[in-house]
Symmetry: C2
Subunit: 203 residues, 2 copies
Amino acid sequence: MADSIKIIIAEDQAMLLGAVATLLDLESDFEVVAKAKDGETALSLCAQHHPDVLLTDIEMPGMSGIELAEQLQKNGFTAKIMILTTFARSGYLRRAMDAGVRGYLLKDAPSEELAEAIRKVISGRKVIDPELVMEAFDEADPLSEKERKTLKLAADGLTTEQIADKLFLSKGTVRNYLSSASAKLNAQNRIEAARIARQRGWL
Amino acid sequence: MADSIKIIIAEDQAMLLGAVATLLDLESDFEVVAKAKDGETALSLCAQHHPDVLLTDIEMPGMSGIELAEQLQKNGFTAKIMILTTFARSGYLRRAMDAGVRGYLLKDAPSEELAEAIRKVISGRKVIDPELVMEAFDEADPLSEKERKTLKLAADGLTTEQIADKLFLSKGTVRNYLSSASAKLNAQNRIEAARIARQRGWL
DNA sequence: ACTTTAAGGTGACATTTGTCATTTTCTGTC
DNA sequence: GACAGAAAATGACAAATGTCACCTTAAAGT
């Protein structure tokens, strides 16, 4: 088809990648020209095919979908980028928007909406999952870089001392950071703090 | 179609549910008669439609896919049950087999294999993802029921005392369980123990 | 009836963690 | 060089956690 919309899909879960590709290919005005299972592959496939739309997951091995979007934008690609991801995380949305992403959908959304969303984006509109719009209004990440780093390591089960060694800080400082992180998140200890931070996409 | 294979799909992620359903419906010998987004719904839809195959995810809100399989087996349903899940976890596989599951596939597998796997199961064979077969040979879950329960709550950030209250045990006993769980998993504290257990699918 | 065994509990102790006030060190800026 | 602010460290204390040896109780065998 001469004027069909050319689509590239990037998604690391093979089953979903294949199923969504089939789904979109059924639409007579769409044509899935390539499939990628990671960001790097998607990038080179974009250079090769110059698609109208790139539909990408965020969490993938190697280059994430957001980094991919940033690269494409920097290199002046005209493809309209759409994110299709699992969780509603306000942090991601902001970065995605900054990278010129035009659509942000959740895997929780019914599959019937996907094709329609793509057509909306092609016609110049932006599409953001309603769930996300809500999230975007709530609190921003209150953690400092150090708090985030210590918390991430603590969540892996490292002791205060091991964290201190790894980050070249003293034990006391690490405990201070973890303590203030817990306070900010209203958690009663580092474990709960890590859980909360992770749930909100801050970790 | 009179003798087409009737399929019910249970999967909480709407996008995958819809896409896979479309994919299978394209096969001329298949017919997706119902879709469910949780175990309870799937159970009642099975009673209503008596499908030939139930394709289900494991992790779903409410009743898990494994519990669903156990229920169906107990109630004497003849539907062949197939699991389609994200991670290769040896613990799950054993329980699934005990519940009479005939197929165990990973979402990492290419979508093209799905239809073929279903036909194999219908013809009486069992289908287990090769990845899983490997996993099945490694170590079994060493945790006792109590160790697992305490660990699960600890992983949410509950204190020893809160866990004790919730499980009607003394603080000392809870600490004993957590301590022995850590020992079994070679972890240096409850946080690391929980992380390890979760990674191996024992939590 | 007499072990055995497992689940649960106790007490003691060392270590780690959480909290907070205070101090030191490092930076940029005027 | 002096000063304000941030980042990092310190010290002290209470509380929580990890470990271990040992006790109690209630089945389950024999």
